[in-house]
Symmetry: C2
């Protein structure tokens, strides 16, 4: 079980957008160049985040994306679920009811599904702990300063 | 991100095998019939669990599977990792180093990967909490009794 690459790309893009001056936008082309990833595939992921209310997109030659909510209100979980949808990572198809010895279907969900859902809840709980604002703060404290400065300048030249 | 169906099937099969008298085996055909799942695809999953040291398989017309360790020592996590391997569910390809403004690569892992790994650890931690013995005990307490009894009889007739 593995997230697609678009999860990595989208979280990075959202963090970059969250670090821009309020209301500023970047085009998909700029985001793709900054992260060295294919523009067409990145565009699909960002569109899904727009549909999920995480990004705000504008079209046209001067179009681009900005975050649709404050950086404190967008968690990594929001981005992951925005991209992948809210279906459970464990799909219970209730094979217990295929049992040739089944007499009564009984009550309640399958115990295996319950254990799997509990674990997924813990996974989501952890992902919800980290917001874009947290990432930006940590980045400011730990990242290479010359790279940060040069990046800020490069991005500011491309803001829309 | 979703587990394949074989995860559901394999956990159910392991729980059934864990409930047999010690040393008893069931064939893949019996396990497939009991769970109403395709035998060939189930066989592949069970073979992986054998390779992971969770199941013990014997070949030949009287061959079959039994659990390779006590039921208290096999967790749902063991089964999931045995089937899917130990690669992380978030693959960090370090796109931060694709940055055209990169001056120094800096130290330490990507913050996004750190957050994703922490969540995966929580997921695995929860899955490790439930052993096959736990599942069997809970099943004995909550499942439909007539179905349990009929199943035990059906399975005992097919033990190898």
């Amino acid at each position: 079980m593995q997230h697609g690459n678009h999860v990595e790309w989208a979280i990075h893009c959202c963090a970059v957008l969250a670090g821009l001056p309020e209301g500023s936008r970047l085009s998909v082309a700029t985001l793709a160049e900054f992260h060295g990833v294919p523009k067409a595939y990145l565009a699909k992921g960002l569109q899904r985040l727009e549909e999920a209310g995480i990004l705000d997109g504008s079209v046209g030659p001067k179009g681009g994306y900005r975050i649709a909510k404050p950086a404190t209100e967008i968690s990594i979980l929001d981005i992951v679920l925005g991209l992948e949808g809210r279906s459970n990572c464990f799909r219970c198809t209730d094979i217990r009811f295929n049992n040739p010895c089944l007499v009564n279907r009984g009550k309640g969900p399958c115990l295996i599904a319950v254990a799997m859902r509990k674990a997924e809840k813990a996974y989501h709980g952890e992902l919800a702990q980290t917001s874009l604002a947290d990432l930006l703060q940590e980045l400011g404290e730990t990242a290479d300063k010359p790279t940060l400065e040069k990046s800020a300048e490069w991005l500011s030249e491309r803001i829309r």
